[in-house]
Symmetry: C2
Subunit: 550 residues, 2 copies
């Protein structure tokens, strides 16, 4: 049978460097704006690959990054997979024990880490019980090595410096593992998702068209979504494929930084979780900024409120595109594009479509499974969303037990409970797997519940997310104390307990005492009842109720 050459990432880099050599890659740093071009970038990528060779890192190894969005991190995006290695982006906002598990499970050989994240990594490294045994070297992003317990350690500039600016890239098989991310949204330990060259190729091609994120050479794209969140939704690779200009907002950008980058770099397309865009709107109420270059914002990671969509459109002439995906789907799988003719609809009716998770991308398939099989698309019946396709994984890394439950006949059972309207727009109505999303980051309610219930004075407990204007959801604990226990001291005890194991932004904003946790017919905790009852429960979230970004 006729063959072809493999689907790999390398030709995207090759094409950008040849056809758009002077197109810019811009990065905000603590020292100001850094600029480079595709031509120079390609040389740096080659230097990085040569440096990895010379450091004795095998081509089939996993290489981790613990980094924000900047050009050096982007260099690993092509440098690592194009030499045949696997780029493993680690989310630095996870609890220490999760990161320890992840590094151990992935057997990372080398870790690139931002200076601002060294302290966090040191904390994971300290009592890791051998979790970091496979790590042969840490490379701190930048030009100097900070005083650190991480060892052995090099700085990135010394690591790549002096190496050859060309590299004899191997012709890879398209099934070669190229990327890896862990998903910690659901119960139990984080689960690894591996991306092959072919999956990343397919996802790149999948998000380029109008039905995806619609990216072209004219676009100036700023991924605010962190590069450790499923490869910044695949944008760094796709923008390269398109020949667009990249703008990386660097560590912990605040709304003023974002507004300034849009204005100064003439950003046309940006992407991130709703919290970021709510923050920008607040900023714009008080400050002037020229957003006239900005055409579109892709919002994902959590549902975007209708008011947000409307305000950007009406007050700033910016189109908000609601997109949906998961680590398991590379991630972009659906986008709430309007269909032909809907532009003419009244704004209210139109926005009802726009706030949904949207239309599945060309190349993928989904179905909604209720208790008695497939559920019709009638905007009423709901069931679990199952999805499959060339950029949807069919297994977790070394997790046979999860593979048993989470996949079936090539379908990924997403755990999201959805209904689909007659137009085919998917809407998430609940989560089969209990997780809370605060500022776009997952908080495992089950982990918190287990920790709370481990306290001797607690009879039963559950944790749910209550809606929050800024952070979308914040955790609230519902606790049934044992008889005779003093409620005041218990709450304070529980918070102390949780603080030792979880980051500050995971801690419940309120502890509510109840007489019993509502149960389903089969005796399981019925969180739906509490969610409905407490949908207006006001909590006072901490200043940074998403991860502290630096």
């Amino acid at each position: 049978m006729a063959g072809t050459t493999a689907q790999t990432l390398r030709p995207f880099l090759w094409r950008a460097a040849r056809l758009y050599p002077e197109r810019e890659i811009v990065s905000r740093t603590h020292e100001g704006i850094e600029r480079t071009t595709y031509a120079a970038y390609e040389r740096r990528v080659a230097q990085l690959a040569n440096a990895l060779d010379d450091a004795g890192v095998g081509r089939d190894e996993r290489i981790a990054t613990v980094c924000w969005n900047h050009t050096r991190h982007f260099e690993t995006y092509f440098g690592v997979p194009c030499r045949g290695s696997q780029l493993h982006t680690i989310n630095p906002l996870l609890p220490d024990h999760h990161i320890q598990y992840i590094v151990e499970n992935a057997e990372d050989r080398l870790v690139f880490v931002d200076p601002s994240l060294v302290e966090k990594l040191e904390s994971c490294y300290a009592d890791s019980n051998g979790a970091f045994d496979t790590v042969e070297r840490f490379v701190v992003m930048g030009g100097e090595v900070p005083d650190t317990s991480l060892a052995p350690v090099t700085d990135y500039e010394s690591f790549v410096e002096g190496h050859d600016e060309t590299y004899d890239w191997p012709d890879l098989d398209e099934e070669t593992p190229a990327g890896m991310c862990y998903t910690s949204g659901t119960t139990g330990k984080p689960k690894g998702v591996e991306y092959t060259q072919s999956m990343m190729w397919a996802h790149t091609m999948g998000i380029l068209p109008e039905a995806g994120l619609d990216l072209g050479a004219d676009d100036v794209v700023m991924p605010v979504v962190p590069m450790f969140h499923v490869m910044a939704w695949g944008l760094p690779h796709a923008v390269t494929a398109a020949g667009g200009k990249h703008v990386y907002p660097g560590p912990a950008p605040d709304p003023a930084d974002i507004a300034r980058l849009i204005e100064e770099e003439e950003v046309t397309f940006t992407a991130g979780v709703p919290t970021v865009w709510l923050g920008l709107l607040e900023y714009l109420e008080e400050n002037d900024a020229d957003l006239s270059s900005l055409e579109r914002i892709a919002i994902g990671g959590a549902a975007a409120p209708k008011s947000l969509i409307r305000t950007y459109e009406e007050e700033h002439g910016v189109q908000v595109l609601h997109a949906w995906g998961m680590t398991e789907t590379s991630p972009v799988a659906a986008a709430a594009h309007l269909k032909p003719g809907m532009e003419e609809w009244p704004a209210e009716k139109r926005d009802e479509k726009r706030v949904k998770q949207g239309l599945v991308l060309p190349g993928l398939e989904f179905k909604v499974m209720g208790e008695d099989g497939e559920v019709p698309w009638n905007d009423e019946d709901f069931g679990e969303l199952w999805i499959r396709g060339p950029w949807v994984t069919t297994e977790y890394f070394q997790r046979p037990e999860a593979n048993e439950t989470d996949f079936e006949d090539g379908w990924l059972k997403t755990g999201d409970v959805v209904r689909v309207d007659s137009e085919g727009y998917i809407q998430i109505v609940d989560r089969a797997k209990d997780v809370i999303k605060s500022g776009g980051e997952w908080i495992s309610s089950q982990e918190l519940e287990n920790a709370i219930m481990a306290h001797d004075d607690v009879s039963e407990a559950t944790v749910i997310g209550v809606p929050h204007e800024k952070w979308q959801e914040r955790p609230v604990a519902f606790v049934v104390p044992r008889e005779g226990v003093g409620k005041g001291p218990l709450a304070s005890d529980l918070m102390d307990l949780l603080s030792t194991e979880y980051p500050k932004w995971w801690l419940p904003d309120d502890v509510v005492y109840i007489e019993s946790v509502p149960k389903t017919a089969t005796g399981k905790f019925d969180k739906k009842v509490l969610r409905e009852e407490y949908s207006n429960h006001a909590v006072e979230a901490p200043e940074e109720a998403a991860p502290d970004e630096e």
Copy 2:
């Protein structure tokens, strides 16, 4: 390693029928305009697949079509490959002996044929020496069987009628052969190119983005390029993936038909060879037509003159996109998009980019090979274009000798001699393989030369294409008669001889007597010399110097 579900065409059909059930598929027929929708189309496709099952056609068989552009033909585009069979579109404009060879070589099991092409197929069938032995049935597109020597024969409506409107589509391996086209551009017998499910998937995804043909759900796409020309450049599959509206212009559309379809169906995008668009321009000079819906014309198959591009842009507000590809590249491999900033260039300078074959699509790679290896992109040096990628074949069907010469290390050696400017725009300057293109159709100069030189009174002869305003190129024969031969009778003799073997539009428009054919240093015919000398040689082409389209 993590897997995914295969890259196949089926999800494109599934998505279009679910998300755009009422979007139209329109077809011009002799009886007027026929309309259907994706929802109804999906049912017909299922009926067709069931009909093939019931006719005993194995899933792994090849199924041929000899058809123009219409909805029934489009039904085979999904019905055949989605059941696991291979769609083999045959070019009815080829000489009979080529079609005989193709059917025999492909071992087609069933042939769909248009009523208007029955006569042509009968002519191939008549003295086929067993070439049609594998063909078990002919199905004539339409509702009745004409009086014909083709046997056994059914009409399409009877063939599909009454069959179940759903089909249990198999989960195919992505390496399953899904399509096949023969290329007859070069020397020797036509060569088969097979397309796997994955190749067709990749090509579909490759042409959807802005860097490809930029197709979306809002588009109304009319492929004027015949569906037997490399699957109408992949448009039927890509438009389905995008959820756009299809408009098929039916048999032999003339400029008035094309103008009317654009106006009445509000076509936004159309595609075809330059001859078609020159013809439309001529028509518009004398006739009124509202082309305001039309945004873009993709031109390929032959170079588009600068004046054509300019006139459409300035007089009709239509953007002309020059695209390039081959049967071996599925076909679209490059498109002459302007880069960021070039829109502001003076029209003259801009058009210099637009008339080139353009920028390679994301996902593919090319290089230009001179005698001493790779040639720089300096707009001066030239060499043979080599190309590779996920929708570029790496072999011909059952042609080991051609595979030896035409491929190397996964690269397709295109036979096109090109130079590349410093911006990366590819420009074809000559053909390493001698072919002539008249109205977008190949004429093999070598075949004509061999036929002419077989005449006893001919000493040597060569055939070149001379530029022609309407047909781009027309063949002219250069003949060195043997001494003492009368020139008048010889020319007429030669034309008689060629008429018996080749269609009328293959016949040279002129026979020029010369003293000797110019030779290269190694003694080969040097056609470049004649091409330069005769670049202004006026010939009188027949009324239809492209194939008679009905």
